[in-house]
Amino acid sequence: MVYYLMICRSLTYAQRAARTLERHGIAAIVTKAPQDVSENGCAYCVKVPEKRLSEALVALKNTELAPSKVFVLYSDGHYSEVQT
């Protein structure tokens, strides 16, 4: 299954983002961001299912919680940045 990783600047920020998405009925999981996608080391991200990405981005933008970057995470563990 394919997921999207939305990179957040802090754990608390990621938790707020996840809460916002949950309120919109979008399953969101906070996880540590992979080392090579976090520019400054130790970052967090919110993982959302592939089909809910655009809806999630709108919800976060409306609450001023837009992620700094978004990556697509493939089922084999690889990921690549996507432009939003």
Partner: protein, 389 residues
């Protein structure tokens, strides 16, 4: 023990506080320090605590809720951010040393607004004339820890907002007891302990802030690890090092207890006990009681002294009877200067949601007995003196 020292720390806690703190010790590690279950539980627990505090204090965003070790820690962060050497800092004449000493350490020019206890208008007039455009910061406590005097902080905050001066509130004696609307107050920062009116553990506290403040402690945050500077976002910037997770768990449960019971209900209960206590103390010969009969300007804190018996002696005699109160200057020499009690100090009785009228009756009975015993002793001493002369 009959514990009447809630202004120092609330000794009796809700059962949920004990249970949650112990459970945290057994089940959670540290937020932001791992991707395993115990670390995520810690992250969730700390976030829930921030959310609960943000809800109780009407804050827009939980990341502006900072975990501190106590109110003093939060006040140090805020004061050291805003105060400047040689620049004016305006404070009330009822501030604790947790405000006075950091300002002194910074080298600020401290301007104290003094007024008699419960004289709200004089406090307002003093701040009105003291807050000028060259004021670096105004720091004021919501409630005096010695007298329970409620200061007019909404009006003072409004003066600060009008003059574009940062306002720092010490909510040590009001958080969980008086309504505190951070959004409406427009304060730059509000510091509070977790272990008093919020019924959390000692060693816990909160700093609510409206902007990015400078840290007084640097270290690991579990974020931006490649940067040798502290992160430029909250709460990470102000939370270096491992969190006090049992403390945060207990605080979270304490905040929920207060929110469910409501600060208004707790306040009414404590005020009733103060009225009941004061009305009896006022009848005791030689007792001087600091009491606002309207109870509009006083919370559940009551101070008194006896004209002949030292305050510490009364407290020691009460302690012998298993009654805990605090006597002396209560780390607030400024408040005692304002009230004219520096020489004698006071005996402070302070209540929590867990105190009862029966406990007050036992306390009052003990005071009557102590005064009677001491009067007898005083009389005996003076008789001996007379004989000697």
């Amino acid at each position: 023990m009959i514990y009447l020292d809630a202004a120092a720390t609330t000794f009796q806690k809700p059962d949920t506080v004990y249970k949650t703190a112990i459970s945290a010790m057994r089940t959670v590690s540290s937020p932001g320090r791992g991707g395993y279950s115990a670390a995520w539980k810690a992250a969730e627990l700390s976030f829930r605590c921030r959310e609960a505090a943000a809800d109780l204090f009407k804050m827009e965003s939980p990341e502006y809720v900072i975990f501190t070790f106590n109110a003093t820690h939060g006040l140090n962060i805020a004061i050291k951010h805003f105060a400047r050497p040689g620049k004016k800092a305006v404070i009330s004449g009822y501030e604790h040393n947790s405000v006075l000493r950091p300002l002194r350490a910074v080298g600020a020019e401290i301007h104290v607004v003094s007024a008699p206890v419960f004289d709200t208008q004089k406090i307002l007039d003093g701040f009105e004339s003291s807050i000028t455009s060259d004021t670096a910061v105004v720091v004021c406590n919501h409630v005096s820890n010695v007298f329970g005097f409620i200061l007019p902080v909404e009006e003072i905050a409004h003066m600060c907002a009008e003059r574009d001066v940062p306002f720092v509130l010490d909510a040590s004696q009001s958080a969980g007891i008086l309504n505190l609307n951070f959004h409406a107050l427009k304060a730059a920062a509000v510091a509070m302990p977790g272990h008093k009116g919020l019924y959390g553990l000692q060693g816990s506290g909160l700093l609510l802030c409206s902007e990015l403040l400078n840290p007084i402690l640097e270290g690991g945050t579990g974020s931006d690890s490649m940067d040798s500077n502290m992160p430029l976002f909250l709460p990470d910037r102000l939370e270096a090092g491992t969190h006090n997770m049992p403390g945060i768990a207990g605080l979270s449960a304490g905040i929920r207890f207060v929110a469910a019971k409501t600060p208004e209900t707790i306040q009414i209960h404590e005020k009733k006990l103060v009225q009941y206590t004061a009305s009896s103390l006022l009848k005791m010969k030689g007792c001087y009681v600091f009491f606002d009969p309207t109870m509009q300007q006083q919370t559940g804190v009551l101070s008194f002294y006896h004209e002949h018996i030292p305050s510490e002696h009364i407290a020691a005699k009460l302690a012998e009877r298993g009654i805990a109160v605090r006597a002396g200057l209560h780390c607030s020499p400024l408040a005692h200067k304002s009230a004219g009690t520096v020489e004698k100090g006071t005996v402070r009785v302070s209540f929590s949601a867990f105190n009862t009228q029966r406990e007050v009756d036992i306390f009052l009975n003990a005071i009557e007995n102590i005064l009677r015993d001491e009067k007898r002793e005083l009389f005996t001493k003076s008789s001996h003196d007379f004989v000697a002369i």
